[in-house]
Amino acid sequence: MNQVDTAFLRRLRARDERAWFELWEAFGPVVRGTLYRWGNGRLGEETLRDLTQDTLAALTDSIERFDPQRGVRFSTWLLSIAKHVLGDEMDRRYALKRGGGRRGASLDDSWMGQSREAQPDELYERRVMSAKVHAAIRAAQRRAEFVHFEAYRMRVLENRNGRDIGVQLGVSEPTVTRHCQRVREVLREELMVAIEQWSFTDDERAETDRAGLAADDAAFDEALGEVWRAQEEILALDLKAQMAAQAEAKAGANAEAKAAPRGRHPKDNA
């Protein structure tokens, strides 16, 4: 099946803002993490957020011109756009510094080719794969009963035993198993949707098999738990970096506002 024809991409082409938000929710952290690494600490929190939005907005724009015949992976495509957006930002900054008005590079179809500059590394590919799994888990969480999902989370994602979960939830162990089974079924469906939606090549689609996510229940849980925990580690590192950047920005702002009072009062975020 050619994924460019899927309902989701049709929604993107139709400028459905909710589809854009889903894209943001799923891949925003990946793009932000990648830009952060490229920026090597020189990009502030606000800039990172802007660039991430620009990247995903550019992806939405360019979906019109996407040619599936070129056989480009979704992950590579996303990376090329991010690289392009970052390059554009650097050009703009350089131009501003010189006091000139150099125009940013235009978005063209060169992203669809294998860029020499933006070759994805193993960490990046892992992040994209994890983001797809994460999107599936989020969708499953929305569909499943809260208690069922929490039982599955404790059992598989937090690797706890059924008896302990039963005690916490006030149910028997077989009930926990039943809850987990329900969530697993939903998860399998959502995982298929997510992978199909965000994979442009057969190689990308086969990643679920390689990650063990097409196996029987026990292996599926184990593989999912592994991907989840790996993603948690990555996200925790990203979050730490973001918090450090925010703290730095706040310290700078505080230094500017020397007349800051002892007490604190609300300020707006609008």
Partner: protein, 530 residues
């Protein structure tokens, strides 16, 4: 006989001498404390003087350096950037003068105890200058613009400006205004929107929309609008924001996370926020920007502040995506992108999400960057994690309202150990617990002994007494738990620790010693004469 008297006098003299020595020691000790305080005061003033001088030198150097830059830009025909450089130079020069004023006027006056007078002058002088000379203009030049004049209020200081462009002033109402707005003590914050300060009409309108409802709730004490300015008055809450407070607690606790008492403390603080939300929602308002920075912690209590985004639940306006990342409900963003109106959705649940995110934050010390899927990496009580997740769950699965979340929080706190409460014990769980299949009983709780008494009935959120905490040291995060008691009508004066008592004892001891010595000398003289 004479020997007996002499012996008695010797004992009295010894006692008096000992008392004199002890009293002298105490007096010297207290003198040492006074000297220490005086030294610290002198040190602070010296530091202020030094900082002022350094600031003056730095500012003056930068201001002077910027002048040739401006000139050079003018020469290469870049007048816009030259103006910028000139303006920067002016700003630096102003800063340098303020620093010099601090060093030469503020620090010496503070040294001799005239600091409070300076504050008064800073408040009054600009107003006096505005009345006298500039014809009511808004021009600068004074320490504060005349736009900061509010009838019935004395401006004490200005706070950092918010994102809406409004200015925030801490003020003291005069006696008549206090009666009018019903505020017996404490200060107020005036949030002022002024077109001349760059405020936009949209921001003014947004804030004014909820004013009536906020006033009914007692959140807004007073407000006034004129052709170019609009301001409203709120109670000022001194304290530290929950974000800083929780971060500090986690810094002290280290990677192992908080201990039982601190979990209890942070849960109680979030409980305060949720209780406030329940009241606001009942009054038809939602906050829209729940985050740790919008809760002020003082004496173990959290107070929700910031009315910037408060909106009536029945508003016909279209939802907007305003709010703060990580604490803003993704569902709200989805609905806003769909173009939903506020009244079309149960917006109170967006606040519930924010409260869950705040609970996650205080338990972990980090943002819940992935909503309900955000992990807990530090140890924390299962029931509190459960409450945070339930609040952040998908819109249809989360707590139906703040009251439901509040009852769960109350249950977690009530026993004094959230770690001992299972999710299954929470009122919301017991209400929604599925019936077991035939032949499948409920799992016994191995942690509880057989024949254990039934759990107490769900506490009534409105009447539940709870432990209160008083933070005794903000720096180390230490605090003490105090029971809830009605405040006494008057607060008894604390024991004084001045120089008076030891000096009085010393004087008395010396007088007695003198009398004893005189008596002994008289007796000795009499016996020698006889």
């Amino acid at each position: 006989m004479s020997g007996g008297i002499e012996w008695t006098l010797a004992v009295l003299a010894t006692i008096a001498a000992s008392a004199a020595i002890v009293a002298a020691g105490l007096a010297l000790g207290r003198l040492g404390v006074v000297a220490g305080l005086l030294g610290a005061h002198i040190g602070r003033c010296a530091k202020q003087f030094g900082a002022g001088i350094v600031g003056f030198i730095g500012g003056a150097v930068v201001a002077l350096l910027l002048l040739p830059v401006a000139l050079a830009r003018l020469v290469v025909a870049k007048p816009a950037t030259a103006r910028e450089a000139l303006a920067s130079s002016g700003r630096e020069a102003r800063e340098a003068l303020v620093a010099l004023y601090t060093a030469l006027v503020v620090a010496p006056l503070r040294l001799v105890g005239l600091g409070p007078v300076l504050g008064h002058v800073r408040t009054r002088l600009p107003a006096a200058l505005g009345e006298g000379g500039s014809g009511g203009g808004t021009g600068g030049g004074g320490l504060r613009s005349s736009r900061a004049d509010f009838e019935g209020y004395t401006v004490l200081r200005e706070l950092a400006r918010g994102g809406s462009g409004a200015r925030l002033y801490v003020c003291e109402p005069d006696a008549r205004t206090r009666v009018r707005i019903g505020l017996a003590d404490g200060f107020v914050v005036i949030k002022s929107f002024d077109f001349d300060d760059g405020t936009h009409l949209a921001e003014m309108l947004r804030e004014s929309r909820s004013l009536d409802a906020a006033r009914k709730l007692g959140l807004v004490l007073d407000h006034e609008s004129s052709e170019r300015r609009f301001h409203y008055v709120m109670r000022f809450h001194e304290g530290i924001d929950l974000g800083k407070f929780a971060r500090r607690l986690h810094e002290i606790a280290g990677p192992d996370g908080l201990d039982r008492e601190r979990f209890l403390l942070v849960a109680a603080l979030v409980r305060d926020i949720v209780a406030t939300l329940r009241d606001w929602h009942a009054a038809g308002l939602w906050h829209k920007d729940i985050k740790p920075e919008n809760a002020i912690v003082l004496d173990g209590r959290a107070t929700l502040v910031d009315l910037g985004l408060v909106t009536p639940l029945a508003s016909q306006m279209t939802l907007t995506t305003h709010g703060t990342e990580y604490f803003r409900d993704p569902e709200m963003v989805r609905q806003a992108l769909r173009g939903a109106r506020v009244s079309d959705v149960d917006a109170a649940r967006f606040d519930v999400y924010g409260a869950g995110a705040v609970l996650h934050f205080v338990l972990e010390g980090t943002f819940p960057a992935h909503g309900v899927l955000s992990g807990f990496r530090k140890p924390s009580p299962e029931c509190l994690r459960w409450i945070a997740r339930r609040a952040m769950a998908d819109f249809d699965h989360r707590y139906a309202n703040a009251d439901e979340m509040l009852r769960d929080l109350d249950r977690a706190i009530a026993g004094g150990d959230p770690g001992a409460v299972r999710p299954a014990d929470l009122p919301s769980m017991r209400a929604s617990q599925e019936e077991p299949l035939p032949g499948e009983g409920r799992a016994p709780d191995p942690a509880l002994p057989a024949g254990r008494p039934a759990l107490p009935p769900p506490p009534d959120a409105r009447t539940l007494g709870r432990a209160r905490f008083r933070v005794t040291n903000w720096w180390t995060g230490s605090y003490e738990m105090v029971s809830v008691r009605p405040l006494p009508a008057s607060i008894p004066a604390q024991g004084r620790r001045g120089l008076g008592p030891p000096l009085a004892v010393l004087t008395a001891a010396l007088v007695i010693l003198g009398a004893v010595l005189a008596a002994w000398w008289w007796l000795k003289d009499a016996s020698t004469g006889g």
